[in-house]
Amino acid sequence: MTASSADEQGRGAGAAFVAPAHAGSSPFARAARRLLRKKIAVICMIAIAVFYVGGAFAPLLAPYGYNHQNLDLAFHGPSLRHLFGTDALGRDTLSRNLFAARTTVIVTLATLATGFVALPVSLGLLAGYRGGFADAAISRSGEILASLPALPMLVLINATMRPRFLGWVKDVEGWLHWHGLSSSGFADYFLIFGVLSLFGWVGGMRLIRAQVLTLRRSEYVLAARASGATTRRVLFRHLLPNVMPLVVVGASASLGAIAGSEIALTFLGVGVQPPHPSFGSLISDGASRIALEHHPELLLVPAAIVATLIFAFNLLGDALNDVITPGAR
């Protein structure tokens, strides 16, 4: 959340008849200040920022390409030329981890934008505010999706749909006369964030729907309606700013799980395909017998990065939850 969007939220809330407790500064700005006072939350944010910057700028930061092989140097321990050593094919471990972070950055951000913000917000607002058939259809499909065990279904869908999906991508590339999609591994990312979004929107949608159901009978929404506000205005100026904190908490709590899902899928061989690096394949390579016995750093480096990232996300989610719902402490 940037400062300007927080201001906008504040004005949105200020335009409505907010209860006196919320008067003064916006709830969002106050929550942000409380969050920044928590040392743990700040440390987590810094760790996450380092990871995302490292991943986003992997091509600039990495000393070697992720696929640059030097078979003379296969399975070398850490040295000045290769800070974390090299793998079975003499590829630089540091570079491969940086590019794996890029995979995580792409997949988490794409999944976050679609499956944890766009879909839940639009479907939740629609279900809560419209009710009737739209609500029934959205809630029932959500219920069915939520009754499915996510990881086995993700494995199943990825394993069976991938060939079809790649076929479509090839067709599209044929029409466009441009072949960057499948060779850059983008097709894999797309499939993964597609299925993760498919299974991810339900929780957020329910939260928003429940909140909208409560809020739409509140006095300030009635007042806005009475003064002739359109449905769109009520939804986006009055309801959305009030449900946004919930979306932020939900999304931040889910980011660790999203990153973990991609890693698990790749680990099981149905996610990002080689040679494109992902922490899933790095951990899988590092867990091979020969690497385990002689070069545990090949496992420990990606394992430590992944564990730290998910830990930081979980702690941050906790801190955010405390800040936004103080009663839950």
Binding site: A146, P152, V155, A264, L315
Partner: protein, 319 residues
Amino acid sequence: MDGLAGYVVRRLLFLPVVLLVVSFGTFFITRWGPGDPISIYSGQYRDPEAFARVRHTYGLDKPIIVQYGIWLKDIALHGDFGVSFRYRDRTIPEIIGPKIWVSVRLGAYAFILTFLLGIPIGIYAAVKQGTWLDPFLISVFLFFQSIPVLVTVPVLVILLAVKVHWVPPGGFDGIFSRSMIIPTLALGLPGVAGVARLARATTLGALHEDFVRTARAKGLDEFTVITRHVARNAVAPVMTTVIGLSLVGLIEGALITETLLGIPGIGEYTFQSVNAKDYNVILVIVLLITFAFVLANLLVDLVLVAIDPRARLAGGGGP
């Protein structure tokens, strides 16, 4: 709490609808992908005539929707879940029954570990609220929860099987063997944080009850107050939730743990069946897991409502 019974009945009535939709979705997804079990088993150099004949025998040459109709009819009329293409001489329940039993025993171990660690830690953290110990303890186990199972298993193998030869690096030889140690730790530790937090929350609630004040006023020492009066009221709801939540976590964890360690449980078999495109087995497993999942989630929702009446019944899961 009016409407609670109605809510439960509605959720249960919805279960057949869920299973029907899920069965259709899974049926469609598995069969629509390219390749089929017959082409996997017949290999690269096959007799096209025989290949077509075998496919025809199993009805795989019909449109998917027709195949689905036949599958449903067989279940409705004969209770027949179809044939496993990998082991054609045995019925699907005969194949997956023993595998489920392995996973259930493994899950029970993990569950006991989660419970035995989580409850005391949660209660202790609640009692120490306001000191550094409370957030520290919860954070330590939150860290264990943050390490993906696919990392824990190889790390434990390095530590316990490669560096010191305390346990075998994989496999399964009965539940009273050392081969259970790694999977139990890998599956049990991640759940501790959740249980501890829940136990902490219920304990904090119970600490402010009148009967606790009475117990203290009677002059009971703090230890007795906590173990006799607070813990008893804090544990019951946690236990029920744990059963539900750990089922959810165990199903997902078992897939990776069993595959990695070569444990012949249902998680490993699911993965094998997906790779072998053993359609009917995949379907039965997915439906079974879905069934267990719905019941577990319903249980969790009900307990959460009992703990916190403000929790909305439509909630559950959460993001």
